[in-house]
């Protein structure tokens, strides 16, 4: 059975088992023969060297006292000083809590909803309806976070926002969704669902298309109803895709999305809104604490990598196919 997943190495693996053509031989001859190809490759390689790998080297300032005048290399080393400062900072617990709560809300609500929506779409046999709904629910994915935030500002605006008035009519109370800290997390989750749930179904729908149709016929003959078929055939059929997507989602957990959070943060909700990404921005870019904020960013990346490898190992231990 094939599960569509983002796979970057299958081509490589195929190649390594195939006989390698003309592997030995002088490199200069090889180079002369392929000089145009190497020339074409040059701009791309330069891009990766400058814009992807130089910043990775720049991460070393997390262990230095970066002085702009001296540059990354000449700035003095301070070891783990910035990390120690961060962990002993009262902000640390709050940031970790805010980040984790948003991450778990997204994982616990948005992720299952994506699967449910894909399953419901998969049950539709009226192809015009299916395609229309798909077309509509993909659209928000292509709108910017500034647009999503602006729409929220208008819809929940005090006194005349349609959703503000709707809630006011139903509950009879005024709720200031945009600045009441209690409503920050629901609002973020709601935006996330509106923007990304539809788009997220693509990969599950592709997986659902590969589920063996014969099993359904057998199940129907055995008298299984719709829900039993979904539970015993459809869901197990896309299990490997669910696991892969879950591992990827957990790896991205701490990337709460800088733009979304930044745009929805204001003076009143900052206490619950501030997450690692926005903290790095405020402390680093606006206050110039480059080394300290780089250490915070690095801490976040490392936790993300540990999470992704940890989940992968867990998935393998439970005899499921992991991501790698």
């Amino acid at each position: 059975m094939s599960a569509p997943v983002i796979d970057t190495e299958s081509a490589e693996r195929v190649q390594s088992t195939a006989p390698a053509p003309r592997k030995r031989g002088k490199f200069s001859v090889h180079f002369a023969h392929y000089k145009w190809l190497y020339l074409l490759l040059l701009p791309g390689v330069l891009y990766f060297a400058v814009f992807r790998y130089a910043p990775m080297y720049g991460v070393s300032i997390a262990f230095k006292d970066y002085v702009p005048f001296l540059g990354v290399n000449a700035s003095p080393w301070v070891g783990f000083q910035h990390f120690a400062d961060f962990f002993s900072n009262p902000d640390f617990g709050r940031l970790l809590g805010n980040t984790l709560i948003l991450a778990f809300l997204s994982l616990g609500i948005a992720f299952p909803l994506t699967i449910v929506l894909a399953l419901l779409l998969n049950e539709v046999r009226l192809s015009i309806l299916k395609r229309t709904v798909q077309t509509l629910v993909y659209i928000p994915h292509f709108l910017s976070w500034t647009i999503v935030a602006s729409l929220s500002f208008l819809l929940f605006a005090l006194d005349f926002g349609p959703l503000f008035l709707f809630i006011n009519n139903v509950l009879g109370t005024d709720i200031d969704f945009l600045s009441d800290p209690a409503w920050f997390r629901p609002l973020i989750v709601l935006q996330d669902i509106w923007k990304n749930t539809g788009w997220g179904t693509i990969i599950f729908l592709a997986a659902l298309a590969t589920v063996d149709q014969d099993q359904y016929e057998a199940a129907i003959i055995d008298g299984a109803g719709r829900f039993r078929r979904v539970w015993h055939i459809t869901l197990p059929g896309i299990r490997s895709t669910i696991i892969v997507m879950l591992i990827l989602a957990i790896g991205q957990m701490l990337n709460t999305g800088f733009e979304q959070i930044y745009l929805m943060t204001n003076a009143l909700n900052r206490g619950v809104a501030e997450v690692f990404d926005t903290y790095v921005y405020f402390v680093g870019i606006t206050q110039g604490a480059y080394s300290y904020s780089t250490a915070v960013g690095l801490f976040k990346s490392l936790v993300g990598i540990v999470l992704i490898f940890g989940t992968n190992a867990l998935a393998k231990r439970f005899n499921q196919s992991g991501l790698f």
């Binding site: 094939s2 599960a3 796979d7 970057t8 081509a11 390698a20 003309r22 490199f27 392929y34 145009w36 190809l37 190497y38 074409l40 701009p43 791309g44 390689v45 891009y47 990766f48 400058v50 814009f51 992807r52 130089a54 910043p55 720049g58 991460v59 702009p68 419901l120 779409l121 049950e123 539709v124 309806l129 077309t135 509509l136 629910v137 659209i139 292509f142 709108l143 910017s144 976070w145 500034t146 647009i147 935030a149 602006s150 500002f153 208008l154 819809l155 005349f160 349609p162 008035l165 539809g198 693509i202 592709a206 149709q213 016929e217 719709r226 800088f258 790095v280 480059y290 960013g297 990346s301």
Partner: protein, 290 residues
């Protein structure tokens, strides 16, 4: 396969159809409201709770924003940066993907590993910001284009696509004396038009929608893009420069927000059908395991 539908199954189907239709409508409602609101009068916006059709059509909000130099500048800037950026990003991606698709090119494996590693780990916001600063790109539009010039995912998918094209095509071209560059230009690119169009649109949407890069790299607010302008208008009701209007004229404060959102969204909606035609397929080309 023939499905013998039971009564329960039919009820489920009906409920499912209604539910999904509702989901589709709800998804679009906020935008329909804003579209309608952008043509409504200021009084109507604050008086009526929700509407998808204004009682009285007014172009006031559009007249106002299109008479504001700051808005025109942001719009023109965004269009130009998106156009140039998409071309630059597409050229860089294709020229890198093509050699990497050649199985017998040495060093290819190493480069691919480095590309994949760059997908998992990045320097993060501050080291990237310092690099852009050191390169003298602060307040330059190149800062919106170059740092994200090649998307590793797109690169790998385009590479795999090239790899899967039949090798006979190239061989016969070689027999006719075509060079590697000639093969790319005259044979592979015409064959890959749908895939390239998809990624061009993805890149274009990415630059058009980008808020973080201008926030980080453009401190000079005369260089702001549309997303920055939108943020300014909707978050702070600071109307960024006055239009060529009577100083006693009170601009339609809410209507302006509606109109700017529409202008920032419209190009996406116009290109969406072209994007949609290809993306599901394009996304899965070369990324399907097995």
């Amino acid at each position: 396969m023939k499905i013998h539908n039971t009564t329960g199954g039919r009820i489920f189907d009906a409920a499912n159809y209604v539910f999904l239709s509702l989901i589709g409508i709800i998804t679009l409602l906020p935008f329909i409201y804003v579209f309608a609101g952008s043509f409504a009068t200021e009084a109507e916006i604050t008086r009526r709770a929700f509407f998808v059709w204004p009682e009285q059509f007014s172009m006031g909000a559009y007249e106002y924003i299109f008479s504001t130099p700051a808005f025109i500048r942001a719009l023109v800037t965004t269009v130009l940066v998106t156009a140039v950026g998409t071309v630059v990003q597409l050229i860089l991606t294709v020229t890198m993907a093509y050699p990497l698709a050649k199985r017998n090119l040495r060093g290819r494996q190493l480069i691919m590993s480095l590309v994949v590693f760059a997908m998992v780990f990045s320097g993060g916001m501050i080291p990237t910001f310092l690099l852009v600063k050191d390169l003298g790109l602060l307040n330059s539009y190149w800062a919106l284009i170059l740092p994200a010039a090649i998307n590793p995912f797109s690169l790998i998918i385009i590479k795999n696509f090239f790899q899967e094209l039949p090798a006979e095509l190239e061989e016969s071209a070689k027999m006719d004396g075509a060079t590697e560059v000639g093969i790319l230009w005259r044979i592979l690119l015409p064959l890959s038009k749908p895939v390239l169009a998809t990624f061009a649109l993805f890149y274009a949407v990415g630059i058009w929608n980008d808020f973080m890069s201008p926030l980080l790299y453009l401190s000079d607010n005369s260089k702001w893009t549309l997303q920055m302008y939108l943020r300014q208008v909707t978050a702070s009701s600071d109307l960024l420069g006055t239009g060529n209007v009577d100083p006693n004229y009170i601009p339609p404060e809410q209507g302006i927000k509606f109109a700017v959102i529409v202008v920032a969204t419209l190009p996406i909606l116009i290109f969406y059908p072209f994007l949609q035609k290809h993306f599901a397929k394009g996304m899965l080309i070369g990324s399907v395991k097995g």
